[in-house]
């Protein structure tokens, strides 16, 4: 159980990291169409853009927060990308290269390089699936065509600076990253469609969110602040599913432990029927005798849990040292090397279950030991 819980904990941790550092960040500031009271949002461009009043306010708040590691404004747009005879739909994201590289630290560049800031013509990073479908390589030039926020068709030629794999197939077949100025030229927008924030200490996220909400309450443009798990509801679903599986596993293990200890205790009681008879003859009441057996079971449970926990911790460390090659998760292109965390809470629960199951298992046999007359027990000598 220690190992199973440790493996799941690693899986959840890995999933959180992959969500946060594949671009979501620990929290995001996003535009909203309606505020919490159901009224129309404030400001003319509130439908899908954060105004400069919001971006400035967010900057001011986050600059004062020591827990903040990176602030990455983004400008999203859609359009068509052409490379030679091929033209495909794409989802573009204008990014600030420096903070964005931190927020996308788990994104893998399979060819080319990240934005250097020294490019002579605008560069773009193209998702691996899209690059494959377009048949482009780094240094190839593609044309991006979109409609600006003002409703005009705009276009830009950009050089493919690199090809990336986020690990999520659907994302990689449609995404193009461009520097924020290029996106602003294409969209003719000055604000951002969202601001992603990475924190040095994820535990500080609630404090940062509170500070942002207080400040954003005064801005003319309505905006909301969402934590990473609100932005990826699939995480909560996966955690619920795996926790249910773990609980089922624990229930099965508990039943096995109860049956095993019950068998052991039944044998122990059977072998000591005469001994129990003597104790009863000497004046030991049923409660005391049952207590003795339950204490014995608790001792067995404690010893078993101590051995189990020690073995479990050793197994966790050994497995983590060796690593487990995992296949790619559904919808992903890369496998990963899994480890097993040592989870103190799981260790305590395992120990409590072991002792509790042992006591529970001993209850039946110990109650059977005090049935009948003392003389019957003594005859078993």
């Amino acid at each position: 159980m220690t190992v199973a819980a440790g493996f799941l904990d690693f899986t959840f941790w890995g999933l959180r990291q992959s969500i946060v550092y594949a671009g979501v960040g620990h929290l995001q500031v996003l535009p909203i169409d309606d505020d919490t009271d159901g009224n129309r949002a404030r400001g003319p461009a509130a439908h899908d853009r954060l105004g400069s009043d919001v971006t400035d306010a967010v900057r001011a708040v986050l600059d004062a927060q020591p827990a903040v590691e990176a602030v990455a404004p983004r400008l999203e747009f859609q359009g068509l990308v052409s490379a030679g005879p091929r033209t495909l739909a794409f989802a573009g994201i204008g990014v600030d290269p420096a903070p964005e590289s931190h927020l996308r630290s788990l994104v893998l560049l399979t060819a080319g390089e990240w934005f250097t800031g020294a490019e002579r013509m605008p560069h773009a990073l193209v998702g691996s699936g899209l690059a494959r479908r377009l048949g482009v390589q780094p240094r190839d030039v593609v044309s991006l065509i979109t409609y600006s926020d003002r409703g005009r068709m705009t276009a830009a030629d950009v050089q493919v600076g690199g090809i990336f794999e986020s690990g999520v197939v659907e994302y990689d077949v449609r995404t193009v990253l461009v520097p924020l100025p290029t996106a602003r030229d294409l969209t003719e927008a000055s604000g951002a469609s969202g601001i992603a924030v990475a924190l040095r200490d994820p535990a500080a996220s609630n404090d940062v969110i509170r500070a942002l909400r207080r400040r954003l309450a005064d801005t003319p443009t309505a905006a909301r602040v969402a934590r990473w798990d609100e932005l990826s509801p699939v995480y909560a679903s996966i955690v619920r599913l795996y926790q249910w599986i773990l609980r089922t596993f624990v229930a099965i293990v508990t039943v096995v432990v109860v049956l095993g200890v019950a068998n052991t205790m039944s044998m122990a009681v059977f072998e000591r029927v005469a001994e129990v008879g003597v104790l009863r003859a000497l004046g030991f009441g049923p409660g005391r005798i049952v207590t003795v057996f339950l204490l014995e079971a608790a001792t067995i449970g404690l010893a078993g849990s101590a051995v189990g926990v020690a073995s479990g911790i050793a197994a966790c460390l050994a497995i983590s040292a060796l690593g487990i090659e995992m296949p790619p998760p559904p919808g992903h292109t890369h496998g990963y090397v899994a480890a097993v965390h040592v989870v103190p809470r799981a260790i305590v629960i395992a120990a409590v279950i072991a002792v509790g199951a042992a006591i529970l298992a001993a209850l039946g046999p110990s109650l059977r030991s005090i049935r009948g007359e003392v003389s019957d027990a003594l005859r078993a000598t």
């Binding site: 005469a274 001994e275 008879g277 003597v278 104790l279 009863r280 003859a281 000497l282 004046g283 030991f284 009441g285 049923p286 007359e373 003392v374 003389s375 019957d376 003594l378 000598t381």
Partner: protein
């Protein structure tokens, strides 16, 4: 007042659909301080009678009185408490707890009494010394001879200073010399402390030191021989050997309760 009274005592068992009448209408009374031997062939009902007298089982019919307490009418819980306070048992097969040392076995019944750890240790130590078991206090039953084990069993029966001791074939597994030692201790205890002792036995040597003899046959009293000794009067013929190490210390045992329990 009698120490033990059995009134038309009956006990029957059903084994594999067959009813066995182990005790069939036994009646007798024993004076306080009596040493009574229950004799009879195997299957005559001796052990069953002892279990009824000691409240280890309830009679099918009839009554068992110990002092003013009707043992057969008590609930299981009250019988348990009554045994702890008033009755000591010596078993044929010693029945020591194998994982406990001799001293721990002797101390077992004291766990039920409100005594300090020091007082418990004092009582156990004194009794082990008296019975010549001091050197063996930390030995487990498996490391003791049959005689030594029975002496430990005897010490366990005596350590709470019970008013009544019931012994089921206490010398059955012992050689004659060891058996004599054990009998001497019981006799001395009976003399010195007026403890009423009832023992079931096949051993003529044990039977010979008893004040009274009740012979059972097929669950009924076939013969009763009251030798009419004053229970705790000393006599040169049946007093313990002056040189017996296991009898010298009996005088140091705590005395039994001065009044019989008044359970009803």
């Amino acid at each position: 007042m009698s120490a033990i009274v059995a009134l038309d005592l009956r006990k029957q068992f059903t084994v594999a659909g067959r009813t066995i009448h182990a005790v069939r209408g036994v009646s007798f009374a024993l004076a306080p301080g009596a040493l009574c031997a229950i004799v009879g062939p195997s299957g005559s009902g001796k052990s069953t009678l002892l279990t009824l007298l000691g409240g280890l089982d309830v009679p099918t019919a009839g009554e068992v009185w110990i002092g003013t307490a009707n043992v057969g009418r008590m609930s299981a819980g009250r019988r348990t408490r009554f045994r702890a306070a008033n009755v000591g048992f010596v078993f044929q097969a010693h029945n020591l707890v194998p994982v406990l040392t001799a001293a721990e076995n002797v101390a077992l019944p004291l766990a039920l009494l409100p005594l300090s750890a020091r007082e418990r240790a004092r009582r156990v130590g004194a009794l082990l010394d008296d019975l010549g078991l001091h050197e063996l206090a930390h030995h487990r039953p498996g490391e003791l001879s049959g005689g030594q084990q029975q002496r430990v069993g005897l010490a366990r029966a005596l350590v709470t200073a019970p008013a009544i001791v019931l012994a089921d074939e206490p010398t059955a597994h012992l050689d004659s010399r060891t058996a004599r030692d054990v009998v001497d201790v019981m006799r001395a205890m009976n003399r010195r402390r007026a403890t009423t002792i009832v023992l079931a036995t096949h051993d003529p040597a044990v039977d010979a030191v008893a004040d009274e003899q009740i012979a059972l046959c097929d669950g009924v009293v076939a013969r009763r021989d009251e030798r009419r000794r004053e229970p705790w009067a000393s006599s040169s013929s049946d007093s313990p050997s002056a040189t017996s190490s296991v009898t010298r210390g009996v005088a140091s045992l705590p005395l039994p309760p001065s009044h019989w329990p008044s359970y009803s």
